[in-house]
Amino acid sequence: MKCDIILAGVGGQGILSIATILGAAALRENLHLKQAEVHGMSQRGGDVMSCLRLSSDPIASDLIPTGKADLIVALEPMEALRHIGWLSPAGRVVTSTVPFVNIPTYPDTARILDTLGKLPNVTAFDMEQVAKEKATLRASNMVLLGAASPYIDLSPEKIEAGIQAVFGPKGEKMVETNIAAFRAGRETALSL
C-alpha cells in the first residue's frame, strides 16, 4: 500500500487536523507515515500545504515528488489548482467548491471550477453546505476527509477511530459531530 496525499487550504481552515487523524489511523495500522506541514508566517491567512505519505514500506522523503501524488485534498478550489502539478496521471482531486476569498485578486470562481472539471478524476462539491446540514459548519474539514476516504486505502472504521482518538479529549459531542460530518462527506462523494 502506498498513498501520497497533498492537503491544501488556507491557514486556519483545519487542514492539519485531517493529517493528524489520518496519522492516528495509520499508526494503528502499523503503516509508515511522513507528514510535512507548514507553521509560522504562512498560517496567517496565507495558503498552506501539507504532504502526507502513507506506505506499507519505509518512506524516504518527507516531500512528495511532483507528478507523483495520488490525491490532492483541498478545502478550497483555487488551492486545489495551486498544487495540481503534484498530481500523478491517475491521481484524483477531492475539493470543496466554496471559494475562500480573502484577497482582492481572487479569480473568477466559475472558471476555477470549470478548469478543475477538465481533470480526469475529480470529486468536487459544496462541503460547507453538507457540513451545515449534517453537522456544523466548523466540521467542513471532516466532510472533506469523508469525501477523500474512498480513495485512501484505510477502512472508514479505522479513520473514524482516528477521529475518536483526536477529538476524544474534547468530549463525546465533538466526536459525534465530526463522525457525522465524515460519514456525510463519504456518502456524498460515493453518490456523485
Binding site: H39, D62, P120
Partner: protein, 557 residues
Amino acid sequence: MNENKPTDHSASKVMKLLLGDEALALGAINAGLSGAYAYPGTPSTEILEFVQANPTARERGLHSHWSSNEKTAVEEALGMSFCGKRSMVSMKHVGLNVAADAFVNSAMTGANGGMLVISADDPSMHSSQNEQDSRFYARFAMTPCLEPSNQQEAYDMAAYGFGLSERLRIPVMVRLVTRLSHSRAQVATEPEAAAENTLSYPQNPRQWVLMPGNSRVRYRELIADREKMEQESVESPFNRLSQGSDNSLGIIASGIAYNYVMECFPQGCPFPVLKISQYPLPKKLISELFAKVDRVMVAEEGQPVIEEMLRGLLDTPSRPVLGKLDGHLPRTGELSPDSVMEALVKAVPSLRTDSVEAPAASSVQAELKDLVVARPPALCQGCGHRDVYAALTAAMKMYEAPKVFGDIGCYTLGWLSPFNAIDTCLDMGASITMAKGAADAGQHPSVAIIGDSTFTHSGMTGLLDAVNEGTPMTVIISDNLTTGMTGGQDSQGTGKLEQICLGLGVDPAHLHTIDSLPKTVEEMKSLFLSEFEHKGLSVIVARRECIQTARRHAKKA
C-alpha cells in the same frame, strides 16, 4: 555512556508520531535532561513547547520557561551544564546570531553536563529573513555538529549528543531544517526517562574563566581536540559509507538531503553514498569515497558548506565535484526530491525515465497562470496591530517623507497592502536603533514600531541609547501581550513595559499607553502626531491582546 552503537529499536520501544522538533525534545527528556531553554522562532518553537507539555518533564520540574532572547537562553543552559546537568537550548537559525557571543565562547569554556545547542535553519525562508546555515557556526566555534536526516535520528541524537558532549566536554550543535522540524513520522522511543545527572562541577575550573591567560591554554586544547572530534565522526553510527554497483558517480548526502537522494532510487541506489550526519567532516570516509569513484555529487540542505570545503579556494579536488556551485543543484531555496533527481539526471543522463503517461496537470496547464494567484499571509481580523497601522498611516500622511522602521513579528505584515506602513525590517530590535540612526541623520519624523516580545528580546538596550541622547524619535510598542507570530508563547515583558521604559529613563511626560481598537484610531492618530512634534524621545505603548490568544483564553474560561 553511549558506546556509538546504533540504537536498538526492539519491542520494548514505544512508537509515537512526532515532529522532528518533538522527537528531539522527547529524546532529550528520555536521556535525563534537566533544563530546556529557548526563545520562540519558526521552525524551532515546538521543541520547548513539547517539553512544557510533557508529563515526565512536568513531574520532574524540568526548566522549560521561555527566555528573553537566544543569548540569555544559551547562557542559562551553559550555567546548568556548568553544574553537571544535561541542558539544551533551542532557537531558529537567526537566533543563533543573537546568541553567537555565548555560543562561540561556550566552545572555549567547554561543557560539564552534556549540552545541546539546537539551531533550526529555514532554507526557502518560509518564515525568516535569510537562509544562513548553522553548520558554519559549528565550524567557526569548533564544536561538533549533528544533523539528523529523519525523526528517528533526531530522537536518537539527543542521547547520543549528550554522550558526545560529555565525552568531549564541549557543547554539541544539533542542526535542524524546516522540513525535518515540521514533519511527522513514527519514532521508536524509550518507555521511561533516564535519571538526571547529579550536581557536579567542572574538572578544569580555569577553563571557565576566559581571561587571556586561560583562553590561550584552552584554545590550543580546543584545536588539538579537533582530531578526537573527527575520529568520533568517522566512528559515528550516523555517518555511513554504503557501497554501490556503479562507481562512475559517488554521492555525499547530508541531513535531510539523504532522504531526497534515496527517494530517487526506490530500488536502491546504484552509486556509493556517503551519508553525513555528524561534523567535523569524517575525512577518512570522504577519502575512501573519492578513491573509489570518478566524480562526486554533494547534496546538502542549505548553503554549500561541504561542497566548498571539498572544492577549496582553487577548486582542485582530486575528483570533479558536482553540486550547488556549478549549477547541478539550485543555489537558493530548499532541496526537493525533484531538484535532486534533476541534478542526478544532469550528471548521469541514462537515469532519465520519461513517463509514458502525461501528468494530470498537462490538460489544464495553460489555464493555470491567471487562475492561481498569490495568497499572502495577512494580519488577523480583530488584531490590534491593524488599528495601530490605520492610525499610523493616517498620521504619516501629514508629512512629506515620513519613515517607519519596522521589526520582526506579525506586524512585519504591515509592509503589505493595504497598510504599506513600514520601510525596513532587519532583525530583532532594529526598529528602535535604525530609527535612532535615521534621527541622528536628520530624519523627521523617525518612527520605530516594535512588538512587546521583540522589545524585551532586543529593543531595550537600543532604547537606552536613545534615552541617553534624547534622540528626537517616536517608539511605538504594539503590545499584544504575547509572542504572536510563533503561535502565542508567553512574552517576557507582559505587564512590565511601562516600568521598563521608565526604568531606562524615558521621560514620563512622553510615555503614553493607549488601547489599540477601531474606536481609538482617531485618538491614536492625534497622539502620534503630537509626539512626532516632540523634540525628544517618545514611547507609546498601544495595547490590545492578540485575537488568537484572546480566543484561547475565552475558550478556557
